[in-house]
């Protein structure tokens, strides 16, 4: 549907790393008992992955399941699939205390790409990247707003923020990636 547009309509900047708004992504907040059999089944059906362990994100192509808190997951699917996935989750979890909410339109997604991607994020997030495990999603702060990020490919991080502050986050990433401000020598 062309009338659905992401917050920044895909704007990008090239500095010592490339930063870009990644467009719309289907996202569902799913709260419930993460250990239940129904939950495992529901997540499997939605993303093809297992329920992620603490602080993990399970990636499967354009779908993923991320651990957000002890009773909350973030389910990622293509934007067009979000409504149907919510319905499927609701059905799968019927009879069990849970909450599934479509938050696809409440978020903005960014990619930070390049060998020094980490250096741009180090300026914004109080995170020790040395302790960031492979497949870990880290919920934290980018300067003055909440965000979450994970390593989505070799030399690439995907970062999610709230939609209303997309412009602010892009401004941060842009200025953090400006050539000449690399943190470490080549």
């Amino acid at each position: 549907m062309s009338k659905a547009v992401s917050a920044l309509e895909g704007v990008s900047h090239n500095g010592f790393v490339a930063v870009a708004e990644a467009g719309l992504r289907g996202m569902i907040t799913l709260r419930g008992d993460l250990a239940s059999a129904k939950m495992k089944k529901a997540v499997k059906a939605a993303t093809g992955t297992a329920v992620p362990a603490r602080r993990r994100i399970e990636l499967n192509g354009d779908k993923a399941a991320a651990w957000m808190s002890p009773d909350e997951l973030l389910i990622l699917v293509p934007y067009a699939d979000a409504v149907a996935t919510v319905a499927a989750l609701e059905a799968a979890l019927a009879g069990e205390h849970h909450l599934a909410a479509d938050v696809s339109d409440a978020r903005a997604v960014f990619t930070v790409k390049g060998a020094r991607a980490q250096e741009a994020l180090m300026k914004l997030c109080p995170v020790d990247f040395n302790t960031l495990a492979e497949g870990e999603i880290r919920r934290t702060r980018a300067a003055q707003v909440a965000c979450a990020f994970w390593k989505s490919a070799e030399d690439e991080f995907t970062l999610v923020s709230f939609r209303s502050v997309a412009g602010y986050v892009m401004g941060l990433l842009d200025v953090s990636a400006r050539p000449g401000s690399e943190l470490f020598p080549a």
Partner: protein, 993 residues
């Protein structure tokens, strides 16, 4: 004169000459120079004026401890006052100007203070300037302010940018001298994550100047090799031009990197503030040489002995042709020898010790130098430049025995470890009697999150001055395996504490002995403070301003403390030190603010329709971090006119309000109803599916905190609307109770505020507009007020709530945020024939006031309870408990005398000023006029053509028709009548069509 030597200079590159200016005069230096070395190389000894007496000031030191050498640097958006000459690297085209004088450095009117110095002792202003009373503010203070201050005021917006960076390390070693390098080698080999930082642009510290031999080679070669070896370790990060500015709790180390100070305008950030979290910190920050206190020790040309050595060795600059050395220790002899090596003249070494027979004095004698033992300087001759010194017996009262002509004096009073970082977070010090210094007490370090020591001091920062021992200390502190690197450096004979020179100097001499040359604090001032009972070191410091200058007393504190202790006749450790506070040296405000300026100063939250508002004349109003349109200005229109136009249009046709900022929280689960009954004052569990209900939330302290429409979505889920800016707060509030109090209740919440773009479509034509979009039955019969429907509206996935905050027929439509802009455009297009027009927050405010609806933040201010607003109908009597209920039972809250909500109408139809108070008879016990009410909202109503207001009035609802007096500006009194707060459409006919 001071001059550039023909040979030498470890740090300068003679193939790269640079030009710069000082007070408009063109000057030349070399790459590798500091501003100080470059100025001295051009015989510019006098560089500024002191703070209080405006005395001539020259460079004293060669590093961060420099108190005098401060200039204004740069122009326009890159001008900065108070730049320290000794730590600022020279760059091509640098424009510098001296400070604190008028009209010129050479001739300064303010220097008249110096002539009256005798009448201006420490703390003199506390004793005078008291009469007449107005005179302090209007006569004395302006004069003092003008004469004080230092640098010129920057006028322009900063052209540079700054940034933060987070870093984490097992160990941070602060200081890149041989101690820091040895520690980094040792720690690096263990595989720890190590950072080694150095404030200057160069590694090696003092040892390279002092010609120490390490591991059989020159210190400078050893340093080069060590740096190379460390650079080869992947686990060690090396960084120059990076100063540890402060150590804070839990190993938080603030590191100030000066990236582009020496390459201004090259596009890089000027400074970077590293927010380092260190597992442990090793301070290898070295030591600072102390001056000696003798009369005239502030005259330009009197310098620290180590600094003189630095200028000769590092920058090939001789501070003078004839340099007299005055000392109480052996180290200063190294300066004498370095001067000799450079072909300069040392007329005498004046040593206060009765005997100087160590290897260094002997070496000096062997080279033909005159060593005068047991003597001191009685007086320095000269005013803007040293011309000579007179000798006296140190043990005496200062009788002048002989005058030696010279143009520089190199002084050394011993060394003080740099203990700032050690102390910032609570590390304690002990007094080392033999070396006359405070050094870190390893038994009482600053402790970290785990309660264990988080700092270790090594090398001369730990009070160890011998290079060989420094290396051993560094190696072992860093857990080094095997033998430490060894050094050959010679043994220094013991020093002798000398706090004033000569020992028995009388008051006249003591008034000429400077302790703090920038702030003009002298030995006599400290003694006066002691005499007057300012016995605590903090009292003395504050009374005299000792150590409060831009150098924060790096060279003056210990000397001042010793003088104070002596005056109080007690030991130095009993007197104690002042507190060391961050930063170690001043850091730029720009760096402290980081990247947060301009567009990214703070997050600006935007709704999906923000872009439309921006291009259609939105007059913005910040609401929390959101920006909402207050009104939309059309060409040539004023704010007031725009608001009235928007209201009239909404009342007569149809208006659109971007209501996306309203909070939206889903509350779901078997216990959700029970939970909402606790959260809201009214009953939410009984709300039927498909319906909406207005609800109030109170704090546990009873005050009204938020309101909004609650929607029953399904049997076990509700959607709670909050105020703009209330979403995060209320969501957090819900989670707080669910996680911490009622954790066995089965309830989940989700904040879906930003998932939806929400538009209020209000006005007589609202239904027509929605019908035109089509897809959902919005008729009166199918869709009554206070209900909601879900469906597809004009092709948009929509949820519609039939709620009204304007009193008009109104629908609030929520669509996915990503489609919000398209939906808004569709409404405007479809609504054209119905006269659609967006309205802003002010129109919304006025329309709700016309209807007598309260507004959180207007009628409430954190002191108002729902009962005050006659909202009893929204407070359930049936519920045994809700948050805030117990609080509202307290005597003052249950009192019938509370001010209650009423409408107010002025007798003349005008608008009562906002916030005005209604007066009552008489005054209270404190003589304040009694009051009986106040205005909470007040507007001109374009609908009614007159002023309307709401307010809180004592017993208000029982006093309908009474007239109150509201004193306003200029002694005027507005008279207003108490009326029903519903001004418009009391029967609600318009919204129920």
């Amino acid at each position: 004169m001071s001059t550039r030597l023909q040979k030498g200079g470890r740090l300068i590159d003679r193939t790269k000459p640079l030009s710069f200016s000082f007070n408009g005069k063109r000057m030349r230096g070399f790459a590798g120079d500091t501003l100080a070395s470059a100025l001295l190389g051009q015989d510019q000894m006098m560089v500024g004026r002191s703070f209080k007496y405006h005395r001539p000031r020259g460079v004293i030191a060669s590093g961060a401890e420099e108190p005098n050498g401060l200039v204004g640097l740069g122009q326009g958006g890159r001008f900065e006052p108070n730049q320290r000459l000794t730590t600022t690297e020279l760059f091509e085209g640098a424009e510098t100007a001296s400070q604190n004088h008028w009209p010129s450095l050479e001739f300064d009117v303010g220097a008249i203070n110096d002539r009256f110095a005798r009448f201006l002792p420490g703390g003199f202003y506390y004793k005078t300037f008291m009469f007449p009373r107005f005179a302090w503010k209007h006569v004395f203070e302006p004069v003092i302010r003008q004469s004080a201050g230092l640098g010129r005021v920057p006028q322009n917006r900063d052209e540079d940018r700054y940034e933060y960076a987070y870093a984490f390390a097992d160990l941070v070693i602060v200081g890149g001298g041989i101690a820091g390098l040895a520690a980094a080698l040792a720690a690096g080999r263990q595989g720890k994550r190590v950072w080694l930082i150095e404030q200057s642009a160069h590694w090696g510290g003092r040892a390279v100047v002092d010609a120490v031999q390490i591991e059989g080679t020159e210190a400078s070669d050893w340093v080069k090799d060590a740096v190379e070896a460390i650079e080869g370790m992947e686990n060690v990060t090396l960084r120059t031009r990076t100063m540890a500015s402060g150590l804070y709790d839990h190993g938080y180390l603030l590191m100030y990197e000066r990236i582009a100070d020496h390459t201004p305008g090259d596009g890089r950030p000027r400074h970077r503030l590293w927010r380092m979290r260190a597992g442990h910190v090793i301070t290898a920050t070295g030591a600072i040489e102390r001056p000696l206190s003798f009369a005239g020790n502030d005259i330009p040309g009197v310098m620290l002995a180590s600094a003189v050595r630095d200028y000769v060795v590092n920058w090939a600059v001789s501070p003078g042709d004839r340099t007299v050395i005055v000392t109480n220790n052996d180290d200063a002899y190294r300066t004498a020898l370095a001067l000799l090596d450079a072909g300069l003249v040392v007329p005498a070494i004046i040593d206060a010790r009765p005997e100087a027979k160590g290897p260094l004095p002997e070496a000096a004698r062997a080279r033909g130098l005159r060593v005068v033992e047991g003597h001191g300087i009685a007086k320095v001759k000269g005013s803007k430049r040293v011309t000579g010194v007179s000798l006296c017996v140190q043990a005496g009262e200062g009788a002048e025995l002989e005058t030696i002509s010279c143009d520089a004096v190199a002084m050394s009073g011993g060394w003080s470890p740099v203990v700032h970082l050690w102390s910032h977070c609570g590390g304690k010090l002990i007094w080392d009697e033999a070396q006359a210094m405070f050094r870190p007490d390893a038994k009482r370090p600053a402790t970290g999150a785990d309660g264990a020591a988080m700092v270790t001091a090594i090398g001369s920062a730990n009070g160890i001055l011998n290079a060989h021992e420094v290396l051993a200390d560094a190696h072992s502190a860093a857990g080094g395996k095997g033998a430490a690197p060894g050094a050959v450096c010679g043994e220094d004979a013991p020093m002798m504490p000398v706090w004033i020179m000569p020992q028995g100097a009388g008051p006249a001499l003591r008034m000429k002995m400077w302790l703090d040359p920038q702030n003009d604090v002298k030995v006599s001032d400290v003694q006066l403070a002691a005499r007057e009972g300012y016995e605590s070191v903090e009292h003395t410091k504050r009374y005299t301003t000792l150590g409060m200058a831009t150098d924060q007393g790096k060279i003056s504190n210990i000397n001042g403390l010793a003088v104070l202790s002596d005056a109080l006749n007690r030991g130095i450790p009993e007197t104690g030190t002042t507190t060391f506070r961050p930063p170690y040296t001043p850091i730029s405000m720009g760096a402290i603010a980081g990247e947060a300026r301009g567009e990214i100063f703070q997050p600006l939250r935007k709704t999906p329709m923000h872009g439309w508002h921006e291009t259609h004349g939105a007059h913005w109003e910040p609401v929390g971090q959101w920006r909402r349109a207050y009104c939309y200005l059309r060409h040539g229109e004023g704010v007031h006119d725009a608001v009235n136009r928007e209201i009239r249009n909404t009342r007569n046709a149809v208006g659109l309000l971007d209501a996306s900022t309203l909070g939206k929280i889903i509350v779901k689960g078997p216990d959700a109803g029970r939970f909402l009954d606790m959260l809201y004052t009214n009953m939410m569990s009984t709300l039927p599916v498909g319906k909406c209900r207005y609800g109030l939330m109170c704090s546990e302290n009873g005050f009204l905190s938020d309101d909004g429409v609650v929607v029953r979505l399904t049997e076990d889920s509700w959607l709670c609307h909050t105020t703009t800016g209330g979403a995060e707060r209320i969501h957090g509030w819900m989670e707080d109770w669910l996680q911490c109090e009622w954790w066995d209740w089965k309830v989940y919440t989700a904040n879906v505020t930003e998932e939806y773009a929400q538009v209020a479509i209000a006005g007589p034509n609202a239904r027509k507009l929605l019908e035109k979009l089509g897809g959902m039955d919005v008729s009166r019969e199918a869709f009554p007020a206070m209900e909601w429907r879900e469906g597809t509206l004009g092709g948009f996935r929509a949820r519609i709530y039939r709620i009204s905050f304007s009193g008009e027929l109104s629908y609030e439509v929520a669509v996915p945020a990503s489609e919000g802009r398209a939906f808004w455009d569709a409404l405007l297009a479809a609504g054209e024939e119905f006269g659609v027009m967006p309205y802003g927050t002010e129109a919304m405010h006025i329309m709700r006031a016309e209807k007598g609806f309260i507004m959180i933040g207007d009628e409430t201010d954190g002191t108002v309870i729902p009962q005050d607003l006659n909202l009893g109908w929204a407070i359930s009597k049936k519920k045994p408990d809700y948050l805030g209920k117990r609080a509202q039972e307290r005597s003052f809250m249950a009192s019938p005398d509370r001010w209650k909500l009423v409408g107010l109408e002025t007798l003349d139809g005008g608008v009562i000023p906002d916030g005005a108070y209604a007066v009552a008879e008489g005054v209270n016990a404190n003589g304040q006029r009694n009051t009986q009410g106040r205005v909470t909202s007040t507007y001109f109503s374009p609908t009614l053509g007159k002023g309307i207001a709401m307010g809180l009035v004592r017993h208000g609802p029982d006093r309908m028709g009474e007239v109150l007096d509201f004193p306003v500006d200029d002694g005027k009194v507005v008279k207003a009548r108490i009326v029903d707060p519903v001004f418009y459409d009391k029967e609600g006919e318009k919204q129920n069509v």
